[in-house]
């Protein structure tokens, strides 16, 4: 009995902290759940996706500028014809743009786009997005527990950028996760923060490329000035939290401090085109106060010092601890667990593995009932892990867009929601059923015995009612859909 209880807890933990079982992982994994999770933290490095189209921002920058030039030439060549949505003008392209610009995602009605005499290879920014998404999904499907991938998803959402912002965003969202997030998932929060805030994808997403110190050489010459978006979101969303004790003046001052943090332009004057550079010509000169402290460092060092202090602010420890517990344990984060994580964060000076260990070792985290709905991304990854299939890009994007969580396209800089109120809605559930029906059809041939799969994937978590529903299904596709939509598969 105790054995079964431990196996059930292990199974829930693997769904809570990981991405759910793959066929055959079953009992051994559940028995050793805590050790396996802790071993992944101890290993201390996040793997990188394979088969990405460009290794880093420099290569992407070169390709992006070449693409823009080519677009310009094409536009000029046929200037008489009405130009189809130039990339330069796509400040905020429609959310479903990928649905029409890319290959027809699975599940979408074939009738939806009969008029277009395509099918042409999509444009470079979309192609890049497509290949980055495919590579990161492949990695998550192959992971052992999926803990590292869950943490990557968490931090990628905490420090989110959006492909809907611009072609830079669409080209760089993937490399941003690879360069700014993954190397620091098992590192120090300070390094993660600096890597995220100094990445060109983030500087583009939050408009800092255009923020100019009013008294900088460029500000005086051009009469342009600050854009405080970046500074506000750093304090509100990335570090202190909205009630972290900063003022409007602090927002404006942090914006001054961070002027000059930008992306190198095509001329390569300050750095490799597309990469992060500090441009002193945009930087507001002089010492600037922030949260009661004066920052008099020159140039880039001023912003690095300010961000470093924000990373170690007590409000940041509290904010990050709360978000982690809400994500992994419960919508209403148990305060004792939040306090434990916040204290660990402070004591370890933001050493993230220490914080994860405290979470995984805590009985509060281990024993909490499985109330949280898997997010659409988790649902997709867990489902494909369970069936053992590999989705193509359309099969990834179509369902995720329908369920409201395509990769790297949150509705705002606060990222995707992390509560049941967002994901367990009536319409959301209905869409999940449609999606699961499609996955059941896809997997029918690959899964000869859905009852066996239910036992394998859910083990002691499988309820008698779900087992019966799966066994009595009218068809194999329906049985698989019922398994994927069962409460014990949906909640973690």
């Amino acid at each position: 009995m105790a054995e079964t209880g431990n196996l059930t807890a292990g199974g829930i933990a693997l769904q809570r902290f990981g991405l759910g079982a793959r066929p055959g992982q079953g009992e051994a994994m559940r028995r050793e759940a805590r050790d396996r999770l802790l071993a992944e933290v101890a290993a201390g490095s996040a793997p990188q996706p394979q088969g990405v189209p460009f290794p880093g921002v420099a290569e992407i920058g070169r390709a992006l500028f070449a693409f823009a030039d080519e677009q310009k030439r094409e536009r000029e060549a046929k200037s008489a014809a009405a130009p189809a949505a130039s990339p330069e003008s796509q400040g905020m392209p429609p959310q479903a743009e990928q649905g029409t610009a890319g290959p027809n995602p699975a599940g979408r009605s074939e009738m939806a786009q009969p008029a277009k005499p395509q099918p042409k290879e999509p444009a470079l920014p979309f192609r890049t997005y497509r290949d980055e998404v495919k590579a990161r999904v492949d990695l998550a499907l192959a992971a052992e527990t999926g803990l590292c991938e869950r943490l990557t998803l968490f931090w990628s959402n905490h420090f989110c950028v959006s492909v809907a912002k611009s072609n830079i965003g669409r080209m760089m969202a993937g490399v941003y996760e690879r360069e700014a997030i993954r190397p620091h998932v098992f590192g120090r929060f300070e390094d993660l923060l600096l890597a995220a805030e100094s990445h060109p994808a983030m500087l583009d997403f939050l408009d800092n490329r255009e923020s100019i110190g009013p008294n900088s050489p460029a500000g005086r010459r051009r009469g342009r000035g600050l854009n405080e978006n970046f500074a506000r979101e750093i304090m509100e969303l990335h570090t202190l939290g909205v009630s972290g004790g900063y003022s409007q003046e602090d927002v404006t001052n942090l914006a001054r401090i961070l002027t000059g943090w930008t992306m190198a332009g095509r001329d390569g004057r300050l750095g490799f085109p597309g990469s992060f550079v500090f441009n002193p010509g945009l930087h507001e000169p002089g010492a600037t106060p922030l949260l009661g402290r004066a920052y008099g460092q020159p140039d880039l060092a001023q912003g690095v010092a300010a961000l470093t202090d924000l990373a170690h602010h007590p409000a940041t420890a509290q904010f990050i601890a709360t978000k982690l517990v809400r994500h992994f344990v419960a919508d209403d984060p148990p305060s004792r667990l939040v306090e434990l994580l916040a204290a660990t964060f402070r004591r370890s000076e933001g050493d993230l593995p220490s914080v994860y260990r405290a979470l995984i070792n805590s009985d509060d985290a281990w024993k909490a009932p499985a109330t949280k709905m898997r997010s659409p991304q988790e649902f997709l990854l867990a489902s494909y892990r369970a069936t053992g299939l590999k989705p193509n890009f359309g099969q990834i994007l179509g369902p995720l867009a329908a369920m409201g969580q395509p990769f790297w396209q949150p509705p705002g800089p606060n990222g995707y929601a992390d509560t049941n109120a967002a994901w367990a809605s009536a319409e959301g559930l209905k869409t999940r059923i449609d999606v699961a029906a499609g996955w059941g059809r896809q997997a029918a041939n690959a899964v000869p015995d859905p009852r066996g799969l239910a036992d394998d994937i859910l083990g002691p978590m499988l309820s008698a009612e779900t087992r019966q529903a799966v066994a009595r299904a009218e068809s194999r596709p329906q049985a698989i859909a019922l398994l994927l939509m069962s409460p014990e598969f949906q909640r973690r």
Binding site: R224, N227, E236, G404, N414, E427, D434, G438, Q478, L482
Partner: protein, 416 residues
């Protein structure tokens, strides 16, 4: 699909839903003043749609006060003018309307649109997310996200009332906070996936009923809306833009209008349009904001068409979490601000007028020397609309729907 559920409302109610409505009735017993204008024979069967613009709409560009001497200088690079091919549309000689909104101008001219300017909730910080939470929760400050004011409005109506029984519609895969809460919430979004067969949903309904009350209730709501949408011929069209595109806004509005306009549909709905956070390159008569305003204008036309038979009983209220800085920023956009506009559109609106206690745009007239100063509270406007449409009393509005707003008198005379 779901035809098997296609009988009358009472028959379809599940035990859990009866319990919900029962609780609402109990609250009603102490808080509601039982005197309803609409209860009389031949009285109004009102429709109320709330549109939330996420990201903070720049009210000074949507409804520019061109008559204010300070306007043009503050808005260098994006200011609208009275003359020329891209002239703003005249409203009252002082305020003008963005040229991307001809439908709204037409409705205003017909007396079916009123515009509230220099408006805000009581929230005075500048976080989008807290601002939206205050706007939608109807609570005095941030940090309350358990329920939204439209849901509590519904819960404040007598349980026997058909309006209460029909629930509140939250449009979108993720329903807006303003509709969340204990009263029944129906969900709908423009379909994007091929639909599953109804047999699968029935089996899941059975499984959830045994194992998971939360999922069971959500699925029950989904099934009901699905049946409603199908009866009104709204299924089958997939694809289209999202809620931050002009096409998406029009489709979403048309869909919501189809459900709210149906005899057996919900009377209250909320939806959200996105993309209004115009920090950079906001644009003037053309450009980024103009595209979004054109989308909103198309949504007004879709509401007018889709709700035509009940347009005379309809109020569409458009609100946003706060406004933007009075002056353009360093990147020809605007940063987070305070006062902005709200729109009231529909045949039940006493329109054709601006509602504004104009604070002025001189530096000392701005809020914190930076934003349009709010002089009208959006909650007072909302209270005025729902008091007239639904016959709710001042105390219920001040205690349940917008708690802690006893001092905030409903704006009178907004509804015909």
């Amino acid at each position: 699909m779901f035809d098997h559920r296609d009988d009358d409302d009472c028959e379809r109610m599940t035990p859990s839903r009866r319990a919900v409505l029962g609780a609402a009735g109990a609250l009603f017993a102490w808080s509601f003043v039982p005197k309803f204008a609409y209860a009389a024979a031949g009285a109004r069967d009102p429709r109320f749609v709330v549109v939330v613009l996420r990201g903070a709409l720049d009210g000074l560009s949507a409804v520019p006060p061109i008559g204010d001497p300070g306007y043009a200088a503050l808005r260098e690079g994006i200011a609208l003018g009275k003359d020329g091919p891209e002239a703003a549309l005249p409203l009252d000689g002082f305020f003008y309307l963005h040229p991307a909104m001809p439908n709204l101008a037409r409705l205003y001219g017909r007396g079916q649109a009123a515009i509230v300017h220099a408006a805000a909730t009581g929230y005075r910080e500048r976080s989008h997310f807290d601002g939206q939470d205050v706007l939608e929760s109807g609570q005095p400050g941030p940090g309350h996200t358990a329920s939204g004011w439209l849901n509590r409005l519904l819960a404040s109506l007598p349980a026997g009332e058909s309006i209460a029984r029909k629930g509140v519609l939250g449009v979108g895969v993720v329903p807006p906070l303003v509709v969340r809460g204990d009263a029944p919430v129906l969900g709908w979004a423009p379909p994007r996936m091929a639909r599953a067969g109804s047999d699968l949903a029935m089996r899941l309904a059975d499984l959830y009923a045994q194992r998971d009350p939360g999922l069971s209730a959500a699925l029950q709501q989904a099934v009901e809306t699905e049946g409603l949408a199908q009866r009104h011929g709204m299924e089958g069209k997939t694809g289209g833009g999202g809620p931050d595109s002009a096409e998406g806004m029009r489709r979403i509005a048309a869909g919501a209008a189809g459900l709210v306009g149906a005899d057996d549909g919900p009377r209250i709905a909320a939806l959200a349009f996105e993309g209004w956070d115009t920090h950079a390159n906001e644009g003037g008569a053309k450009g980024r904001l103009a595209n979004l305003l054109g989308g909103l204008d198309g949504a007004f036309a879709a509401f007018e068409t889709g709700l035509a038979p009940v347009w005379k009983d309809t109020v569409v209220m458009v609100v946003t979490e706060f406004g933007r800085t009075a002056a353009v920023n360093g990147t020809v956009g605007t940063d987070h601000g305070t006062g902005t506009v709200a729109f009231l559109v529909g045949g039940a609106v006493k329109g054709g007028r601006m509602i504004a206690d104009w604070p002025g745009l001189n530096p000392e007239q701005l809020y914190q020397n930076r934003d349009l100063k709010p002089t009208t509270d959006i909650r007072a406007v909302a209270k005025g609309v729902v008091a007239d449409l639904f016959g709710l009393s001042g105390p219920v509005l001040a205690e349940k729907v917008f708690p802690g707003t006893g001092d905030l008198k409903p704006v009178q005379g907004l509804v015909v």
